[in-house]
C-alpha cells in the first residue's frame, strides 16, 4: 500500500478561504439588517441637523466603547445555526481535523467582524461629520493614580489637558476581537453557552443581593478591589474597550462645576498592552476549548 | 444486448450473460466480428458489478467464442461456428433445465422425452402450443 497514490488533504489556506466565503454568505442577512439600520439612523441624524442647526455636538466618541459588544454578539448569532462541533454535520465529515476546522471557522467569521466594525466606524464618523460635528476640543481632566482610584480629596489631583488621540479609532477593532475570542471560547467549550452566560450573570446578581442583604461585607470587600482592578486597572476591561479614555467619574469641584477624572493616563502603549493581553488570553482559551473536539473525541458521540 | 436478468434463476449472473451471447449466436442475431457491449455499458444497463461482466467475457474468450482487443472492446470471434458449437451448447443448457424441472416433479427421463416429442409434433415451427392436453 506504500506505492498507492493517496488523495491529498486540502491546505489550511484553501479551507480558510472557503470558510470565509461561507461565513460571508451566512452573515449576509445580518449585514443587510445592520446596513438598513445604519442608513435609517444616518438619515435621522442628518435630518435633525438640518432642521435644528444648533451648535453641532462633538463626535460622541463614548459610543466607541459599546461597539466592542458586537464581538460578543457575533458568536451568539452564528451559534443559532445548525453547524456546531457538538453535533454531527456535513462539515465534520470533511478531511480536516474537527478541532482545527472549528478554529478556522472562528477565524473566518472574524474577518467579517473586522469588516463590519470598519463599516460601522466609517459610517458613524461620516454621518456625524456631515451633520457638522467635529472632534471634541481638548478638555481638562483630573488624573487619579491606580493605587488610589477613589481619592478622598479629588480636588488635589493633578490635571491634564487632553484630546482624543489618533489611536482611539483603532480601539473598536481590537476590543471587538478580544470579546469575540472570549465568547467564541465559551461557544467551543460548552454545548449550551447561553445557559452558562445566564448562569454567571444570575450568580453575580445573587451574590450582590446576598452580600447586600446580609451585610456580609467581608466577602464583598475581598471581591470588590479584585473586580475593580479587573475593570478599571491598568490593563483592565475599560482600558481594552475604551482605551481608558472614558472618564471613571465626574468630580464636583470645590470651587463649583464638574470635571472628568481618569484613573491613570490613557496612553497608546498601555492600551496596546491591554489589548494584547486580553486577545492572547482569549485565543489561548479558544485553543483549549477546541481540544474538546479533537478528532475521535467523545464530544458528540452518544447523540 | 437486451437482457433481463432472471432473479429467480439459480444460475450465477455471469452464466446468464454467457447464455445470452450463445442465444444470439444460435439465432443469428450475432455474427462473426460483431462487437459485444462494453463492460461499462453492460454493467451500467444491468446494474451489476463490472467484474461479473468481465467474468462472463473471460469465460467466452476461454471457449474461443469471443476475442478482446485492447482499447477497442470485445468482439465475436471470426472463427465461431454457431451450428457446430453454440447451438449444441445452448441445447444442452435448455435440456439441463428441463431435466432439472422434471426431476423436481419426480418424472423420469422417458416421460420427459415422450412429452417433448408430442409437444414438438403438435406445435408448429413457431413454437406455439398445438393445444392443451
Amino acid at each position: 500500500m506504500k506505492d498507492m497514490e493517496f488523495h491529498p488533504l486540502p491546505s489550511t489556506g484553501d479551507v480558510f478561504k472557503e470558510q470565509t466565503r461561507t461565513m460571508g454568505l451566512a452573515l449576509r442577512p445580518l449585514g443587510i439588517g445592520v446596513a438598513i439600520f445604519l442608513v435609517a439612523n444616518g438619515a435621522f441624524v442628518l435630518y435633525r441637523s438640518l432642521v435644528d442647526p444648533a451648535t453641532p455636538a462633538p463626535l460622541p466618541t463614548d459610543a466607541l466603547a459599546w461597539m466592542s459588544f458586537v464581538g460578543m454578539g457575533l458568536p451568539l448569532f452564528l451559534g443559532r445555526g445548525s453547524v456546531t462541533p457538538f453535533r454531527p454535520g456535513l462539515p465534520w465529515t470533511l478531511p480536516v481535523g474537527r478541532a482545527r476546522h472549528a478554529l478556522i471557522r472562528v477565524a473566518a467569521a472574524w474577518i467579517w467582524l473586522m469588516v463590519g466594525v470598519g463599516a460601522l466606524l466609517v459610517w458613524y464618523v461620516g454621518v456625524h461629520l456631515m451633520a457638522g460635528s467635529a472632534m471634541r476640543e481638548p478638555m481638562l481632566y483630573l488624573v487619579a493614580p491606580f493605587s488610589n482610584p477613589r481619592p478622598a480629596e479629588p480636588g488635589s489631583l493633578p490635571t491634564v489637558l487632553w484630546s482624543f488621540p489618533w489611536w482611539i479609532w483603532l480601539v473598536p477593532f481590537l476590543a471587538t476581537t478580544a470579546l469575540y475570542c472570549w465568547t467564541s471560547a465559551l461557544f467551543l467549550a460548552t454545548r449550551h453557552p447561553g445557559r452558562w452566560l445566564m448562569g454567571t450573570l444570575l450568580g453575580m446578581f445573587l451574590l450582590a443581593l446576598f452580600a447586600n442583604r446580609t451585610n456580609f461585607i467581608h466577602l464583598f470587600d475581598w471581591v470588590d478591589p479584585a473586580l475593580m482592578g479587573l475593570l478599571e486597572g491598568r490593563f483592565g476591561f475599560f482600558t481594552l474597550t475604551a482605551g481608558g479614555a472614558v472618564p471613571a467619574a465626574w468630580v464636583d469641584l470645590p470651587a463649583g462645576g464638574r470635571m472628568p477624572m481618569f484613573v491613570g493616563m490613557p496612553t497608546f502603549g498601555r492600551w496596546l498592552v491591554a489589548s494584547g493581553l486580553w486577545i492572547s488570553m482569549g485565543i489561548g482559551l479558544m485553543c483549549l476549548a477546541a481540544l474538546r473536539h479533537r478528532d475521535g473525541s467523545g464530544a458528540w458521540s452518544g447523540r | 444486448m437486451k437482457l433481463s436478468l432472471d432473479t429467480e434463476d439459480g444460475r450465477p449472473i455471469y452464466v446468464q450473460i454467457v447464455d445470452e451471447v450463445r442465444r444470439g449466436l444460435a439465432r443469428g442475431t450475432l455474427g462473426p466480428d460483431d462487437p459485444l457491449p462494453s463492460v461499462r455499458e453492460l454493467a451500467s444497463n444491468l446494474r451489476i458489478n463490472p467484474r461479473t461482466v468481465m467474468q462472463a467475457y473471460a469465460e467466452l474468450e476461454r471457449e474461443g467464442v469471443v476475442y478482446v482487443q485492447r482499447g477497442k472492446g470485445t468482439f465475436v470471434s471470426p472463427h465461431v461456428r454457431p451450428n457446430e458449437t453454440e447451438r449444441p451448447r445452448l441445447a444442452r443448457e435448455v435440456a439441463r433445465r428441463a431435466l432439472r424441472d422434471a426431476r423436481r416433479s419426480g418424472l423420469e427421463l422417458d416421460e420427459l422425452l415422450d412429452a417433448l416429442k408430442k409437444l414438438g409434433r403438435d406445435s408448429g415451427p413457431d413454437g406455439k402450443d398445438g393445444g392443451a392436453e
Binding site: 500500500m1 498507492m4 493517496f6 488523495h7 491529498p8 488533504l9 486540502p10 484553501d14 479551507v15 478561504k17 472557503e18 466565503r21 461561507t22 454568505l25 451566512a26 445548525s82 453547524v83 454531527p88 454535520g89 456535513l90 462539515p91 465534520w92 465529515t93 470533511l94 478531511p95 480536516v96 481535523g97 474537527r98 478528532d295 475521535g296 473525541s297 467523545g298 458521540s301 452518544g302 | 436478468l5 432473479t7 439459480g10 450465477p12 449472473i13 463492460v39 461499462r40 454493467a43 451500467s44 444497463n45 444491468l46 446494474r47 451489476i48 458489478n49 463490472p50 467484474r51 461479473t52 432439472r100 426431476r103 423436481r104 419426480g106
Partner: protein, 315 residues
C-alpha cells in the same frame, strides 16, 4: 421447529490481506450500551462488500468508526492501511461517504454553493463528473439545501461522495428515501463508477435486494458482531435450499442436522430445508436420514441474510 435453529459457524476469514478496509476486534461502548462487540471486518481491494444486519446491529457505528467520526473503545480500524484513529482527516480524504442521516449541514445554502464548498476541500474534485451526475441525478443547484426532499438530499449526498473520485466508498443505507426511479438510477451510476474508478465499496443496509447484483462480498452483522463474512460465490455454494422427499412417519420437527438454518414443510411428504454446508455432505446427510434430495438451489443474498439472522445465537 419449536425453537429457532442455532446459528451455524460461518466463515469470517478472508485471507491474509492486505485489505482496503479492516476492523480488528473493534469495540464501541456508549455508557452501558455496547454497539460494537469485537468486530473483525475485512474488505479486500476492489470489492463491493455489503454489510447486512437489522437496525441497531452496529452497521452505522462501524462506518462512523472507519470515518473517525467516532472513537472506538478498543481495537483498531484502518482504511487503505491508514489507522482511522490516528489520522482522521487523511482517512476521510480517501473516502466517499454517504451518512445515515438525511442532512446537508447548511439548510440556508444553495446546492450549487455547497458543491463549490466541498470541492475546495478535495483537490481531486472532478468538475466534469460533478456536472454529469448533477444532470443525470436531476439536482437543481439553485435550490436551498433545507428545502429538499429526503430523496433529493440522498442524491446530493451521493454526488458529494462520488465527485472527488475516492478510492473507497462507505455508503450507509444509500437507497433510503429514494423512489424506484431514483434508486435504479443510483445503481446505474454506481455500476459505471466502479468501472471508471478503481474503488472499494462498503455498503451497509438492511435491505439487500436492491443492490444484490453489484455485490461480491457479504458480511452479516448482529448485535455488534459478525455472524460471518465471505465472497458471494462462497455464500451461494455454502448456503442452499434443498427440496427433499421425506419418508412416511417422519417428523421433521424432531430432526436435527448439522448446519440447518431453516425448515419449511412442503406439499405432502416433502420439505424445503436451508442448510449451510458442502453440498455433497448435505445430500449424504439427507440420504442417511432417509430423505431424498430432489433439488438444491442457492438463495438470493437477501433471503440468505434473512434466514441467517433468524437463527438463535450460540450461547
Amino acid at each position: 421447529m419449536k425453537t429457532s435453529p442455532m446459528a451455524p459457524t460461518l466463515p469470517v476469514n478472508l485471507g491474509e490481506g492486505p485489505f482496503a478496509l479492516s476492523a480488528d476486534n473493534v469495540v464501541k461502548r456508549y455508557g452501558s450500551v455496547t454497539a460494537l462487540d469485537g468486530l473483525d471486518l475485512k474488505v479486500p481491494f476492489g470489492a463491493v462488500y455489503v454489510l447486512v444486519g437489522p437496525n441497531g446491529a452496529g452497521k452505522t457505528t462501524l462506518l462512523r468508526v472507519l470515518m473517525n467520526l467516532e472513537r472506538s473503545s478498543d481495537g483498531q480500524a484502518a482504511v487503505l492501511g491508514i489507522d482511522a484513529r490516528q489520522d482522521g482527516p487523511r482517512v476521510r480524504a480517501q473516502i466517499g461517504y454517504v451518512p445515515e442521516e438525511h442532512s446537508l449541514g447548511y439548510p440556508w445554502m444553495k446546492v450549487g454553493r455547497l458543491l463549490d464548498l466541498c470541492s475546495a476541500y478535495h483537490p481531486t474534485w472532478d468538475p466534469e463528473i460533478t456536472a454529469r451526475l448533477a444532470a443525470e441525478l436531476e439536482i437543481n443547484p439553485a435550490r436551498r439545501c433545507g428545502q429538499l426532499s429526503k430523496g433529493t438530499v440522498r442524491r446530493v449526498q451521493l454526488l458529494l461522495a462520488l465527485a472527488h473520485r475516492p478510492p473507497v466508498l462507505l455508503l450507509d443505507e444509500p437507497t433510503d428515501g429514494l423512489d424506484h426511479v431514483a434508486r435504479d438510477r443510483m445503481l446505474e451510476f454506481l455500476a459505471e463508477y466502479l468501472v471508471d474508478t478503481p474503488t472499494t465499496a462498503l455498503i451497509s443496509t438492511h435491505r439487500v435486494y436492491e443492490i444484490e447484483r453489484l455485490v461480491d462480498h457479504v458480511g452479516v452483522i448482529r448485535e455488534g458482531r459478525l455472524l460471518g463474512q465471505m465472497p458471494l460465490e462462497e455464500l451461494r455454494r455454502g448456503l442452499r435450499r434443498y427440496s427433499a422427499d421425506i419418508p412416511e412417519g417422519w417428523e421433521p420437527e424432531e430432526w436435527e442436522m448439522e448446519g440447518m438454518v431453516a425448515l419449511r414443510p412442503g406439499l405432502g411428504r416433502s420439505i424445503e430445508c436451508t442448510v449451510w454446508g458442502e453440498e455433497e455432505r448435505v445430500v449424504a446427510d439427507f440420504a442417511v436420514a432417509g430423505a431424498n434430495v430432489r433439488e438444491s438451489a442457492p438463495l438470493s443474498v437477501d433471503e440468505a441474510a434473512t434466514t441467517l439472522l433468524s437463527t438463535r445465537e450460540v450461547s
